[in-house]
C-alpha cells in the first residue's frame, strides 16, 4: 500500500512543473511529455538503457549457457566456481561500482596496467570516455549479475530427470544436440522467468552506474534511471525539475510493462511436461 498511493500520485505530479521548494505545483497538462519529444537526452538515455538491457542480456545469457554447461561436467571445484560466480550479486552495488571505477582508471587501474604489462597495450582504451562508457558499464554489469541468472537456470537444469540425458547419450546425441533438444526445452519456463527478471532489473539498474561514474556520468551516457535522478535531485549541479523527473519515471514504468509483455508474447510456446 505504501507504494500504490505514491504511484498514483506520480501520474498526477508528472502533469506539473515543480521544483520541490515551491509550495504549489504548476499544472502544465502533458507539457512534460511534449518536452520529452524534443529532448535529445531522453532519446540517448532510452538508447543506452535498451543497449544495456539487450546487449548486456545477450552477454549474460550466453555466459549463463556456457557456465551451466561447464558446471554440468565432471570437473573439480564446481561448488567453488558456482559460489565465486555468484558472489558479486550479493555485494552492495555502490561498492561494486566504486571498485569498477578504479578498475577502469587509466593511470593506476588494473585493467590498463594489466593490458600494457601483457603487451596488449593496443587494446587499452579510455574506458570511461563518453564513447566507451556504456560498453564499460555493460561489462561491469555482466560481471556483477551473471551469477544470479546462472543460479536460476542451474536450478532449472537440476530438476530435469537425469534419465533424459542418459537416453540422449545412449542415442549418441552430441553435446550441442543435447543442449538444444533436451536442456533448452526442459528449462524453457525457468529461462523465461530469468529473462523477465533480467529485463525488469536491467531497466532499473542505478546504484552500480552512479557509483562507477561518480561524480557524474557524461550526459550522453545517461540511462533513463540516471536521467530521472539528475532531473529530480541533481547530480553535481541540481536543476530540481521534479515534475519532469516524475514524467520520465512514468516512461520507465511503461518500458518495464512493455518489456515484460514482449517476453511473454515471445515465450508462449508449448511447454514440455515431465
Amino acid at each position: 500500500m505504501v507504494f500504490v498511493y505514491p504511484a498514483v500520485q506520480a501520474l498526477w505530479i508528472s502533469l506539473h512543473e515543480w521544483n520541490g521548494f515551491q509550495e504549489n505545483m504548476v499544472y502544465i497538462g502533458l507539457g512534460n511529455y511534449e518536452r520529452m519529444l524534443g529532448d535529445a537526452t531522453v532519446w540517448s538515455s532510452l538508447q543506452n538503457t535498451l543497449l544495456i538491457t539487450v546487449v548486456g542480456g545477450a552477454a549474460i545469457f550466453l555466459l549463463v549457457f556456457f557456465f551451466s554447461a561447464s558446471l554440468q561436467r565432471r570437473i573439480p571445484g564446481k561448488k567453488f566456481f558456482r559460489a565465486l560466480l555468484f558472489f558479486p550479486v550479493i555485494l552492495p552495488g555502490v561498492g561494486v561500482g566504486l571498485i569498477w571505477q578504479f578498475i577502469f582508471n587509466n593511470n593506476w587501474g588494473p585493467l590498463s596496467l594489466g593490458l600494457n604489462a601483457a603487451g596488449l597495450g593496443f587494446l587499452d582504451r579510455t574506458w570511461l570516455s563518453p564513447e566507451n562508457i556504456v560498453s564499460s558499464l555493460t561489462v561491469a554489469i555482466v560481471w556483477t549479475y551473471v551469477g544470479y541468472y546462472l543460479i536460476i537456470v542451474l536450478a532449472g537444469i537440476e530438476k530435469i530427470p537425469s534419465t533424459f540425458f542418459e537416453a540422449a547419450r545412449m542415442d549418441g546425441a552430441s553435446e550441442w544436440r543435447i543442449f538444444r533438444s533436451v536442456t533448452i526445452p526442459m528449462v524453457w519456463d525457468v529461462l523465461m522467468v530469468a529473462i523477465t527478471l533480467w529485463v525488469i532489473s536491467a531497466l532499473k539498474i542505478f546504484d552500480l552506474i552512479i557509483a562507477t561514474t561518480y561524480p557524474s556520468p557524461p550526459r550522453g551516457s545517461f540511462t533513463l534511471t540516471v536521467f530521472v535522478w539528475e532531473r529530480a535531485v541533481g547530480m553535481y549541479t541540481p536543476v530540481f525539475q521534479l515534475g519532469y523527473a516524475t514524467a520520465l519515471g512514468v516512461v520507465l514504468l511503461i518500458l518495464v510493462i512493455v518489456g515484460v509483455a514482449v517476453i511473454r508474447a515471445v515465450s508462449r510456446r508449448d511447454v514440455l511436461e515431465y
Partner: protein, 296 residues
Amino acid sequence: MYEIAEKTSRRNRRKVASTRWDRGNTPYFVLLCLWAALTIAIFLWVIGNSLKSNQEIFGNSWGFPADPFGTGVENYLNAWNISNMGGYFLNSLGVTAAAVIFTVGFSAPAAYALSRIPFLGSRPVFYYFVAGMGLPFQLILVPLYVLFVDLNLVDSVVGLVVAFTAVSIPFTVLLLTGFFRSLPTELEEAAAIDGTSEFGIFFRIMMPVATPGLFTAAIFNFVVIWQEYLLTALLITSDENRTLPVGLMSMRQSLQYSSDWAAMFAGMVIVVVPSFIIFVALSNRIMGGLTMGTGK
C-alpha cells in the same frame, strides 16, 4: 521435501558421469579458472590497496603494500572512526534486521493464505504483488518522499524500516507462496479434521514445517536490503542515520577535500566483508532462496 528431491537427482547424475577426467572438459575448466582468477584478482587488488598509503596507491598500485600493518590499521581506523563507517555499519545492521523480521512476519501469513485458502480475488492479489516487483523506484521517488514527509518518516531509521518492508513484501510473498505450495497438505487436513482453526493450523502445524523456507526468505531479503542505496539516499538526510552503501558514497564525496583514497579502499572492504561472511556461511541457502520462487 524439495531439497531431498534435489539431492536424489544429483546423486543419480553423479553415478552416470564417468569418473575419469574427460578431455573435453579442459577448455571449460580453463575458462572457468580464468573467470575465477579475474574475480579473485579484483578483490585482492582492493584489499591490497586498503593496506597502502595514498602515495603508494598512485605510485605503486600493483605492488605489495610497503607497511601493511602500519598504514593498514591507520586506514581502517580512519574509515571506521573519522568517516563514521562504524556508525553506518550499526545502522545497516539494525535497519536490515528489523526490516527482514517485519517482511517475513507479514509475508508468511499472506503467502500461506494465497497458497492454501481459495478466496475470491486471490488471482488479482497475486498479480498485485507481481506488479509491485516491477514498479521502478524512480517513478515513485518524488511522491514517496512527499508521503514520508507527511508521515514524518523522513530521515529516520524507522521510516527506512517501513520503506524496506513495504518494498520487500511483494517478492517475499511470491517466494513463500511457491514454497507453501510445495509443502504437502496431509498434515493440515489431519489437523482440520481434529478441529484446529485456520490460525491454529498456520501457527502450530505449518510454521515449524516452513521454518527452512522462512529462513531462506529472510537471508535473501537480508542480502537485498543490506545493499539498498536509492531509497536510503532519498529518505535519509543526516549523517548519523546513513547506512553503509550511502555512507560509502558520502566517503567518495569527501575525497574532494580529504583525498584519503586509502581509507576509501578500507571503506569498500568494510562494506564487502559482512556480505562475504554471510555468503560463506550461508551460500547454499542464499542461492536456494533465489531459485525457490522461480522454480516450477
